[in-house]
């Protein structure tokens, strides 16, 4: 046929020359699919925004162990539940071991999706076995209410790292003295200590408890240990979008690093 075929790149004077031809834009989705490495930031489970400051990462890092402990104040259970909330609402399975008195209505109010929550309230003497088993299947395991030998703690932390799960341990301010266990923080990557707090909304014979301010100190046992202090309102006052509100965040590189 005698039809003139326009040569590529010459029909439109505005297009780049053959040497610097524009590459077709690779859709972002494909780029993500073919990326060979799993970056550390992709190994995060979502967490409520207020915790990002404390944890030093925008989410819960898979394979890490978090210890929530009480130092003379209330609020560990609420903090632990708030840690689960964001991840469970996107369909991540959470297992809870040993907390037979857990207030599940409160868990719902703090944003935990109960349809992805499974409880083993009374593991009896199989506590560490059950925690280890759940680490195989769940992405987050919240364990509390029991004492463990240091060897078991280490073993469970290693298990969490192997299975790319997050282990959250809860120790401390149970309502009854009989249940108070030793703080379980050995081997934890981040320790969140509840050092103070306040209940808002309650007067003398009037009002009701509306929110609970929890003052936290996070100690990170990373390459550069540091302490971060923040206060969170649990649950947030209605109308505010984030479920955890940082009121004051103050980074203090200090005593932990000197140790």
């Amino acid at each position: 046929m005698a039809l003139p075929v326009p040569e590529a790149g010459e029909s439109n004077p505005g297009s780049p020359g053959p040497g610097q031809r524009a590459r077709p834009a690779v859709p972002g989705l494909i780029a993500q699919r073919v990326r060979p490495l799993v970056l550390a930031r992709d190994e995060l489970l979502p967490v409520a925004p207020g915790f990002a400051e404390l944890l030093g990462t925008p989410g819960l890092r898979r394979g890490s162990t978090l210890a929530v402990t009480a130092e003379g104040a209330r609020g560990t259970t609420a903090v632990a539940l708030a840690l689960l909330a964001a991840a469970s609402s996107v369909g991540v399975w959470c297992g809870v071991v040993g907390l037979e008195d857990l207030g599940l209505v409160a868990a719902d109010e703090l944003g935990v999706a109960l349809d992805h929550l499974v409880l083993v309230p009374r593991p009896a003497r199989r506590f560490s076995t059950v925690v280890a088993a759940l680490l195989d299947g769940c992405d987050i395991v919240l364990a509390g209410g029991s004492e463990l030998a240091p060897a078991d703690r280490r073993r469970l932390s290693v298990r969490a790292r192997e299975r790319r799960a997050v282990l959250i341990t809860l120790a401390g301010s149970q309502a009854t003295a009989a249940l108070v266990g030793r703080p379980w923080s050995g081997g934890a990557d981040v320790r969140l200590s509840v050092v103070g707090g306040e209940f808002a909304g309650l007067g003398s014979g009037s009002g009701r408890i509306r929110s609970h301010r929890v003052d936290l100190i996070a100690t990170r046992h990373a390459a550069s240990p540091r302490e971060v202090q923040a206060s969170l309102w649990l649950p947030p006052s209605p109308g505010d979008a984030p479920s955890v509100l940082p009121v004051a965040t103050r980074a203090a590189v200090g005593s932990a690093g000197a140790r």
Binding site: A73, R74, G75, T76, T77, A78, L81, W93, E100, D101, L102, G103, L104, V105, A106, A107, D108, E109, L110, L114, D115, L117, V118, L119, V120, P121, R122, P123, A124, R126, T129, V130, A133, L134, D136, G137, C138, S173, Q174, A175, T176, A177, G196, G197, E198, F199, L202, G203, S204, G205, S206, G207, R208, I209, R210, S211, H212, L234, P235
Partner: protein, 537 residues
């Protein structure tokens, strides 16, 4: 138990069907071979030491003069079709697992023929007569001492459920109701149907089905997973599968119209595969697994044929296509032949294929492989929880569900993991006047423990019928600890529940207190005594 009573089932089993279908008699030394391996051998050949899945060369070396026949699945299906048609004369609900195995629910026909024994004899007579017509029967008349429920090429058994009935068919006997477990006990563990599980159990020292049945259910679940537990139920005679009619699951069926009609089996089977993919996706979306599949085909001349196929695992497109191929091989050629004899020259084509699950079960992890297959996330979770349930008992692993109520404890109900959560009216979302507003206590003790509420003079604080406290709460002691000062409090909020029924009527008054030590409690006054309903931790 969740399992229904097993349905009485008749199984017609043709041992070495590939051999019989190839037109060989049990006394001839014949082996049917596919891919270089023996898939079936005649009685004579097996006596000489030929056994599947031997290699062809091994088989030839242990049996001189062994005739080797290549496998022809189409021919097997064609040869079995008259047998299925004969069974359909006794009851409409014939289910076929593969050529050489068909099952029939006996409840109706057995009553008609006056008992299972006479029914079985009737079926045996029909099958034997059929065999004579087709040239499958033995040359010599059946020996007198032979059981009436076994012929040269067929066996019949009746028992509770298809699994036990298959075993009964191998013996050619009828197992009375509820005696399945005792009947199965002496069988070798190989008969369990899962080679890997049988091998493992043998190494663990369990050599008979009875030995497997004697194991504890939770132990089996823990060690072998849901699939092992299913087999464990089978060997205990709790075969939940049934062939009986039941309400058809709504609109799960998929169908396709073939235009122009497919005239060869391969085309139809190929189309059926994509149809089966659609069905599998739909079933997975409903979280169901199909245990009995009905394949219905319609020809261009309006003839319809439906067959029901049973399969123990999950249906895959390949399996469905294979079943359809068997069905069509048998029928299309037969129908084509019949029409040709009528003088019709037009070739029969398949105009419509419809796949409908005749029986579905909730897919609770039965599709898990025991070993090997990569699992999806929820499968993995289910497996882990099954393991913990094996450790601690099924009630130890629970899932919460919020229900309607006022106090923090009565708004939660716990269900063992694996049990279906009730999907009733969502009364959790309904207004409950007097419900404790958000936030609820994060620690709710299983058993409320006692507390003391005292006013500034050290007197017990009570609440009168109008909900007015007798004093201002000044000190609170919980759980036997020393009293501490109250810095803030609110309430009491009276709740009068089920006042219309004097037997269960409950009046309470709730009080929130915060102590000087920063502890917050939800207290309730119940029959004159304060208890701690929850604490904010």
């Amino acid at each position: 138990m969740r399992d229904p009573t097993p349905a009485r089932t008749l199984v017609l089993w043709c041992p070495d069907w590939p051999v019989s279908a190839a037109g060989h008699r049990p006394e001839e030394a014949v082996a049917v071979v596919a891919n270089g391996k023996v898939v079936a051998a005649s009685v004579a050949a097996r006596r000489a030491g030929v056994h599947p899945p031997q290699r062809r060369r091994q088989a030839e070396s242990c049996c001189a003069g062994l005739a080797i026949v290549p496998r022809d699945p189409g021919a097997e299906a064609r040869a079995f079709e008259p047998v299925v048609v004969a069974l359909e004369g006794f009851g409409a609900l014939v289910a076929v697992r593969r050529p050489g195995w068909a099952a029939l629910a006996t409840r109706g026909p057995a009553r008609y023929f006056g008992g299972e024994e006479s029914f079985a004899v009737e079926v045996a007579g029909a099958v034997e007569a059929l065999g004579e017509r087709l040239g499958l029967a033995g040359a010599s008349p059946p020996a007198v001492e032979r059981a009436t429920l076994a012929g040269d090429w067929w066996r019949i058994g009746i028992a509770d459920g298809p699994f036990t009935a298959t075993m009964a068919a191998q013996r050619g006997c009828i197992v009375p109701r509820d005696e399945a477990r005792a009947f199965l006990a002496p069988f070798d563990i190989e008969r369990i149907g899962s080679g890997e599980l049988a091998d493992l159990l043998r190494r663990l020292g369990v050599t008979t089905l009875g030995g497997f049945a004697a194991l504890d259910e939770t132990d089996v679940l823990a060690r072998f997973g849901p699939d092992g537990a299913r087999l464990h139920r089978l060997v205990r005679g709790l075969d939940g599968r049934s062939l009986a009619v039941r309400p058809r699951p709504r609109d799960l069926a998929v169908e396709t119209l073939l235009e122009p009609p497919a005239t060869d089996v391969d085309t139809a089977a190929f189309l059926a595969k994509s149809l089966a993919e659609k069905l599998c996706v739909r079933l997975a979306g409903e979280a169901l697994a199909c245990s009995l599949l009905e394949i219905e085909v319609e020809t261009s001349t309006g003839d319809r044929l439906a067959r029901r196929w049973v399969h123990d695992g999950a249906w895959t497109p390949v399996l469905v296509a294979e079943r359809l191929r068997w069905q069509l091989e048998a029928w299309l050629t037969g129908a084509g032949r019949r029409d040709a004899s009528d003088g019709t020259t037009e070739r029969i084509g398949i105009a419509r294929v419809r796949l409908s699950p005749a029986e579905v079960v909730p897919d609770t992890g039965r599709q898990l492989e025991l070993w090997g297959r990569p699992r999806t996330d929820d499968d993995r979770v289910a497996r882990v929880f099954a393991r913990v349930q094996g450790l601690l008992g099924p009630e130890a692993v629970v899932r919460p569900l919020l229900v309607g109520g006022r106090g923090p404890a009565e708004r939660v109900r716990l269900f063992p993991f694996g049990d279906p959560l009730p999907t009733g009216p969502a009364d959790a979302a309904q207004p409950w006047p007097g419900q404790l507003p958000c936030p609820n206590p994060t620690v709710v003790p299983q058993e409320p423990y006692p507390a003391e509420v005292l006013d500034s003079d050290g007197r017990h604080v009570g609440v009168d019928g109008r909900g007015t406290p007798s004093g201002v709460p000044a000190r609170v002691a919980v759980g036997g600890q020393p009293a501490s000062d109250v810095v803030a409090w609110a309430g009491p909020w009276p709740v009068d529940e089920q006042w219309w029924d004097t037997a269960v009527r409950r009046r309470r008054a709730r009080l929130q207190v915060v102590t000087v030590g920063g502890e917050a409690y939800l207290l309730a006054l119940d029959r004159g005594r304060w208890v701690v309903e929850g604490s904010y931790d």
